[in-house]
Symmetry: D2
Subunit: 382 residues, 4 copies
């Protein structure tokens, strides 16, 4: 960080690379930052790298990530690659003293995640895993309300994350359907989002039981070269217990017809209930048992008022935000943490603890039994 600028290198220029690029591009227009991002270099694989870099606003492009993480000019390495590359890049970056912002899931397994966390700590860099939905105003409001005790002690947590992109048997085989490349598949991909939100809102998960299924057993290769057997689950269901008491129930799916990006939560406690639906991310539903009987009911809060999280920096009340805004808020957190010399949140430790739950789920599914989350649960490390 020089002259109040943080030089950013972004590795990965596909879907997530686009979302992160947009966030760096816009964050300074809406938020006062202690240090502004400078979009130095976009790194990726493919002929479209240079043109993409230009379109997204990066100063230059570079196909070799090793050069990027060694570049003295770079302050912050942002990792948007496929999961299997997270570890190697993050370790190299941290060892070079770069701050690291990594997409979720942090790693392929718990061992990798622990190594990444420990390396980042040892090298005293700021580290953050991009559980982007913590950046949604409605979910930050949910956390505030829970912290204030508005819904009391949490009894039940329900987290569903369902899409239907893979519903058609004609949907092609992609790398996420290959267990070797995708690690824990939907448990890691969609599961990590919901697990992180469960941890964020309801605390640590202690035990799990899980079942998964592959509904469409083989799929056409994208190149027309025939069919290939699918080795990762289309859907998963699991139940859980929490460290602070309370029960959890979860459902994940890539083949749930009609669910487009349906991350829905219900958190109920001794005094009230909160509901959220990512397809209507500007709204939060809140029920307060303390309200008088005659006028008691779920309140549909438009989380767009000036006093709501982040909203003072956006548009007038009722002028809704979209999915991409979560990235801006998370990038802001990372940039401010660097500028202020403080840890970022959620950190690699959060990424690691989430990974521990994913791993417990996979074991519970494999063994058809309950599984304890173990060392990464509460009390582990710091």
């Amino acid at each position: 960080m020089k002259n109040g600028m943080i030089n950013v290198a972004l590795i990965g220029h596909k879907f997530m690379g686009k979302a992160h690029s947009h966030a760096y591009r816009d964050v300074g227009m809406f938020f006062d930052l202690d240090a502004k991002p400078c979009m130095k270099v976009l790194c990726g694989v493919g002929d479209d790298l240079a043109s993409t870099a230009e379109a997204y606003g990066w100063e230059r492009s570079e196909p070799d990530w090793a050069k990027v993480v060694a570049d003295p000019e770079v302050d912050l390495v942002d990792i948007c690659t496929p999961d299997r590359q997270h570890r190697e890049i993050a370790l190299a970056a941290a060892r070079n003293g770069k701050h690291v912002f990594c997409e979720k899931p942090l790693a392929l397994d718990l061992a990798e995640a622990r190594e990444m966390y420990q390396c980042a700590q040892a090298n005293h860099v700021v580290h953050m895993v991009n559980f982007v939905y913590r950046g949604i105003p409605a979910l930050q409001l949910a956390r505030q309300l829970i912290d204030e005790g508005r819904i009391g002690r949490i009894y039940q947590f329900k987290g569903l994350y369902q899409q239907d992109f893979a519903l058609s048997p004609d949907f092609p085989f992609v790398w996420r359907m290959d267990k070797a490349q995708a690690g824990f598949g939907i448990l890691a991909d969609k599961g990590s989002h919901v697990i992180d939100l469960a941890r964020y809102l309801a605390g640590e998960i202690t035990q799990v039981a899980c079942a998964t299924d592959i509904f469409i057993r083989s799929r056409p290769l994208p190149d027309g070269g025939g069919m290939r057997e699918v080795s990762t689950a289309d859907a998963a269901v699991f139940i859980a217990t929490f460290a602070g008491g309370g029960l959890g129930v979860f459902e994940l799916s890539n083949t749930c017809a009609g669910s487009k990006n349906a991350l829905t939560l219900e958190i109920s406690g001794s005094l009230g209930t909160i509901r959220f639906d990512l397809e209507r991310l500007n709204e939060l539903e809140l029920y307060l048992a303390e309200d008088p009987e005659a006028t008691r009911g779920f309140r549909k809060i438009m989380v767009t008022a000036p006093g709501h999280p982040f909203m003072g920096n956006w548009w007038p009340e009722g002028h809704v935000l979209g999915w991409e805004h979560g990235f801006i808020h998370q990038v802001r957190e990372m940039l401010q943490a660097i500028a202020q010399g403080r840890p970022a949140s959620p950190s690699f430790l959060d990424g690691m603890r989430c990974q521990a739950v994913v791993e417990a789920l996979a074991a519970a599914d494999r063994d058809r039994g309950w599984q304890s989350v173990g060392e990464a649960g509460p009390g582990f490390l710091d």
Copy 2:
């Protein structure tokens, strides 16, 4: 059955007794029946029995159920007592050649349920268990659509049944909170409704994992005589596999703030998805993947059109029904089955199979492991 009349005796005059009384009172006004019910005798315990019988339209009242089930005039015995009395009354009635209509859950455990089913079969009486929600037009439409293959092969079934009547720690200790009296508690009470609907819509459940919790450990006795420890669960979560493939996820609660009578279902398959919410029981949501991309979305069907199940007998389209109407439709099924000399549906076998799942859930919860549903699953008996 004489002169086209079926003489009914109803045992139990509280909540369920009232709902059943109302159904007998109204069914003949809206449906052409092959034999009409004659409301002969109301049986129950308490000083208000005679006045209740009069208010509800019963010819007479009788405190002793043993007399009622032996009364030669009675054709049909309807059992609305606490669960622990179901078995004894049903057995006596069947042995006396009475047709038996019994509230859910059929029995306290699987052994009782089997005995009741076998006794009713052996005595060639019509038997039916009142899973009342099968009588809701929207759920009959759901079954029709599934039978027609509109949502294809079922991949996922979600069933939640949540209320909040017991949320306040001041809510008193009632018999359902005593394990000795309530059997499997919420697993039997709310669980049996959802399990039956899962069986009705998605087929037999084969394996389950389950967790329950008691959030409020002791409650005040209604008579002001201090506190008593609660021994049945406030909430339960479970996951399941189905005989035809597919995953199930379930949540039950008496302490879910804001849920008043929230039985919500989502059944998704290879071609579409169905959603239902008991608090809006006149509606069914349907997503058909076959619809063109541009105009595809969940359809909110008002299940009140003349062609919808039962609705040709009620009011014009859009003139909604209430919760009580399910009872009328189920009573109609029982009366017609008797008049037509055919089995009724859902029968005691359905009640028994449901009980087998409840029992597996209780075992899975106790042992913290997966449990097979066993003999009462598909292929068992009939």
Copy 3:
């Protein structure tokens, strides 16, 4: 009224006759009445009269209404005939000292309505017009909240009543499409419901502007005898001012695709807003501006709690009511008023004032100008 019984004669045995019959049949089961109804005689035209009377629970049937209104045994005459017969029957009944319960709209025009009101008053009988939606718990709650000042001074009232039964050009010509028989058509039929609710919730209407349209100009005769020109409107829109200040906006339609029985209201004031939708009649939405910014939003109140209007007499919380229950509540009001020797509400005066608005609307539509409601507005009579 003898021996605590009120002998009822019901004239009209079609749609409304069925709804009223059901109400008399059920009201005593759910409500403690000071005098119970005795379903004496059903009067109507058609071969099915006797069988209908029996199915609905009437002691006997009688085709000649003149005999019915003169029958010394009859205490209460309930009028469910086509609108054009209301006046003649009501006048005869009142002159014979019968209490009169009349379906809406009270009359074909204001002059008739005034005559009916004055005759009923002069003969000291209890008179009530069945604006049935005042009998919906959610709307009684709305009135309570408004009376308590919870939404402050009313600024805006929106009332829509839309159905789509006449959308298809194949829908046949019925008497309501003939101006000569139907009076003011949709303005009277649907309009009177919405106008009455506007008066009930927001006060007297003072001035109106209105436009109507006939979208389908001719329709097939039901007997297959060709087409007939339609002379009443398919839809109407109007705006209004209120005596207490505030603006109103209204829409009525028989051809609004997808609206099945969509009576929707929004009443907003200086302190809050209320919303209602008849297709979800167990719910009321309430926004209170006084709530803190962070947790402010429309509350979806399930109007099924024990403390909500009428609900202590029905089922447990969350066990929803249907459309027909409004009739039970209105019949109860009429019976109690008779038993207690007090006026019923809404009375023929309400029916007359509603008629004055309907008449002003028709004039405003005809003349394409604003129209004052005139003498039947606030300050008129009593």
Copy 4:
């Protein structure tokens, strides 16, 4: 336009200036443009102009708009000033051969709007008025469906635009509350949005009746210098007829408690109905009467599929957009029109026709009578 770049000058740096700045900043990242915008100069009044220009990404700032519209380097003048300045700036810009993109309402009155339209035409510049909601994918889909005849001939159009920012009597007096500065007040401000959408979706408005009201008669001056009388309406209601037949009903409010940015539309026709709510702008509801009775209902379309308008350029399905995205789509239209040497849409003619309706409304309100829209209606000009 040189070297494939369009040099933009933006006049106005407050709310709308921010939204437009953001659009120019982002449009090139998501859309392939025939010519890219170059953010040359931001013009405005106030000490924060230079810092705002930098934060928003403008090359430089300039307080004098006269210099800006005369600057040879500038290709496109974007007007985000208060309404009363639109005319003068637009005329000067057009006379200097600059393309003009102007916020709505186009002008203070019809005469101004006509002058602006004629001047832009005479100078052969591309002109566009920013009715931003035409840029929302769901509304473009609505238009497509209507053009394809999916809902048939339009019978009814309902358009409401309600907010509650001015609900509190403590909300200060702002320039929009002064008739001298605000022209037709809410009729122009909110009304122009809804009128434009009515024209876009249902065709030209021919006649109107209207009522407005000021609920809070005086408000505190922002500087604490006492109270000032309000001379523009807090709310308005109006009804309308359309050139192609059909009825319209409209409601506008700044004081409708709980409505944050509630622009809701319902367009129903002979074959179906469309509904839209700006607070849930990623959704469109569609009812098709042709669907079979059993499965007919409003479809909640998530307008985020690749084939939906604009959505192929954004995120995967279900990843929702926000309010600001409409500006990006409208800026894209303006830039492409310039690059392609074609007219933009909606043009100043649309702005003028909208103004004609606003003016008719004001006259209808003033005179309490129906008003014809007159020359700006269908058939006028082009």
